[in-house]
Symmetry: C2
Subunit: 234 residues, 2 copies
């Protein structure tokens, strides 16, 4: 095993990017770093990989230790490996990300932890290359949102157009023209109008809608129709 | 920096998955491993990350050292981190992958190196978790091929339907019914028939086609049309 002995050991960290939607706004969870360098600066939830755990396990452990959040399905995003990214030691960081329903995790995220939700466009500058990590996670989220119904998983079973628009505006960090957004959304034929209205937002109220899941699925398949049964492959 | 000193350093490797298309078949490049454990067994092109390089640089260096290939654009795929994946030492491996035109790199891949191309479904069993890496790369490739025109980049400017079918059959590791494949492909309206025929494969010959790139692009945008100018985001 001589070949191994000559190799340089490296520290490996994980950093967790948690996006959340509260029914109105897209937010991001951050903490103040607990150790030097950059102690007390805003940071992603991060920690070091330990000998007997996988990266997935490390990401879950770190997230739980620093925020109390448990059972969040996080996806491995990318390894950041610039030799100078951490001024203290050569440290690789594997970024993980998730998009969660903020209300669902409200209780776990108690005041015992000092994690805070920030609006995406009002978050503080983060340490090291954490802003790059967030940018990449946001890009990945936009990519996914454009081809998969993942955003609908953050909405209640029935939702209003203004809610859906807020979610898209949060993910894409841009304001959409109300009338155009509604028109385009309706032209997809993917939404089923319900009889009831949500009257919490305005006197006039907004009709509830449901996603036509069968049609959503069929639309995706149509796009993949060169390959027979493409969905079994991807 | 006490916090850093207590952390366990870990070895970090890169492994390169190179898929190739030679106009007829999808293949995969493999080498025989040069050191213990598992010396002389079939393996991906792998090596250890060095102190002053990024992972991208390591992947390019390793690929060049072991195969002679240079200037191949590889994409970071996933980090494999099972604590027991390498029996010699705790080693993380970052898998990279690329899909290349075999003819374009024929000269670089000289006999000085002992890399060999294998048909995807006739490759030998690989060491460690390399077969898992290949499976994940293939899945990623199928996913990409379904939503992006990356496969067309492997075909000449003008190509025949049998060529395109071979490429898809290679990527999806399945045989398509000729008539159905042709019919579905034509129904996309994405191919522009040329006047000339390729007569190298049969006496009757096969018409050449070109991709209607403008229409291909527009089709993708149509799918993303809930979001105005989605392409600028992803």
């Amino acid at each position: 095993m001589t070949h191994y002995i000559e190799q340089p050991p490296i520290l490996v960290a994980v950093d967790c990017i948690i996006f959340g939607f509260d029914g109105q706004d897209m937010k991001q969870l951050l903490i103040k770093r607990g150790f030097d360098p950059e102690k007390n600066k805003w940071s992603l939830m991060g920690g070091f990989l330990q000998p007997h755990e996988t990266l997935d396990e490390a990401a879950n452990r770190v997230l739980k230790q620093l925020t109390g959040l448990e059972g969040v399905y996080m996806e491995q995003l990318h390894v950041f490996s610039d030799p100078n990214r951490d001024p203290a030691e050569r440290t690789l960081s594997v970024a993980y990300f998730a998009l969660i329903d903020i209300h669902q995790y409200e209780i776990q995220l108690s005041d015992d932890y000092h994690a805070e939700w920030f609006l995406l466009n009002k978050k503080p500058r983060l340490i090291f290359d954490h802003d790059d990590m967030v940018r990449m996670a946001q890009k990945q989220l936009r990519y996914r949102a454009a081809i998969h119904p993942i955003l609908f998983e953050l909405l209640p079973q029935r939702f209003t157009i203004p809610q859906l628009q807020s979610l898209y505006e949060g993910v894409y960090d841009t304001l959409f023209d109300n009338r155009n957004f509604t028109r385009k959304l309706m032209s997809t034929g993917l939404l089923i109008k319900q009889k009831e209205k949500d009257k919490s937002g305005s006197k006039k109220g907004a009709f509830y809608y449901k996603l036509n899941k069968r049609k959503y699925k069929a639309n995706q398949d149509a796009f993949l129709n060169i390959v027979p049964k493409a969905d079994k492959f991807i």
